[in-house]
Amino acid sequence: MPGDYQLSVFINCPFDRTYRKLLHAIVFAVHDCGYIARSALEITDTSQVRLAKIFRIISECAIGIHDISRTELDRRTKLPRFNMPLELGMFLGAKQYGDATQRRKLCLVLDRTPHRYQKFCSDNAGQDISTHGRNSERAIHSVRDFLRNAAPSDVIIPGGAKIYQRYLRFSKTVPALCRELGQPTDKLTFRDYTGFVSVWLKEQEEPKRQISFRQGKQRHITATNA
C-alpha cells in the first residue's frame, strides 16, 4: 500500500472568493480519486515563515496541481500576481534537484486557455498544460484524468462525470452541514472542507452496501413468512 507521500497532492492555486468554487471542486476530485489534498492553507502557525511552510508541504507531496489561471494584473497595483508561478517553480526545482523520491514527482499545470501561459511564462512552453476555462466540471475532468495516469494500473478510479455528479450533490449538502455544525459557510477553512469531503465520501460508500444487504435480508424474511 502506498504511503502518505505517494498519495499527497499539493494544490497550488488562488485562495480568494472568486476562485473558491474551483478550489473546492479540485479538492473534491482529489479525494474522490483516493488521494489526499494538501495546501499552504492547512497550517495556521504564524511562527513559521510562509515560504518554509510551502517548501515543507512540497517535500511531503509526490503530486502537484498548479493553477496559474489567475496570473493577471491587479486592478489597484497594476502588477501581476506571481505566487502560483513561483510555487510551480519551487515544485519543479524540488523535482529537478531533490533526491530519488523527489525526482519522481508528477505535476499538472492548469490555466484558463490553451496558450495564454506562453505570454507570461514562456519557459513552460514545452509542457502540456490542461485548461479549465474557469469551469468546475472541466477542472474535475482534468484533475481526474491526470490522477488516473498517476495511479497504479490495478486501481479503479471513478470517471470524471461520476465525480462531478457526486461533487454537485456534496456542494448542495455543504450549507446544511455547516448549519448543523454551527459554522458559517463562507468561513469554512481548508482543513474543515477536506474533513467534510473525506467523511462524506466514506459515508456515501458504506451505507449503500448495508442497505442493499438489509433489503435483501428483509425480502428473504418476508418471502419465508409468506
Partner: protein
C-alpha cells in the same frame, strides 16, 4: 476417453484454423492479470474544527431531514393548493 478425443479434435480444428481463439487463454489471463480494486477514500491530513463523529452525525441529520422534508413540504403545498382552490371557487 471422451475428453481426450475432444482435446484431439480441438487441436486438429485449431491447426486447420477453424478455432481462432484459445480457450485456455482465459485461464492464463486470470492467472497473470492482477485483480483491480476500487480506490480507497483517504482521511484528510489534519483534522479540522470538528471530529469525524460530529461530521458523521451532522451528515446523517442532514440526510434524515432531507428525506422527511420534501413530504412535509408537499403536504403543505397540497393544503395551500386546496385552500386557494376553495377560496377562488365561485359561491352560489
Amino acid at each position: 476417453m471422451q475428453l481426450a478425443r475432444g482435446w484431439v479434435a480441438a487441436g486438429l480444428k485449431r491447426r486447420r484454423g477453424q478455432i481462432r481463439c484459445d480457450r485456455r487463454a482465459f485461464c492464463w489471463l486470470n492467472i497473470f492479470m492482477a485483480p483491480k480494486t476500487l480506490r480507497v477514500v483517504r482521511d484528510s491530513k489534519y483534522s479540522g474544527s470538528f471530529t469525524r463523529q460530529q461530521i458523521e452525525r451532522a451528515i446523517r441529520n442532514v440526510e434524515r431531514t432531507r428525506e422527511v422534508g420534501p413530504s412535509v413540504d408537499k403536504r403543505h403545498g397540497d393544503h395551500s393548493a386546496r385552500s386557494t382552490k376553495s377560496a377562488s371557487r365561485p359561491k352560489g
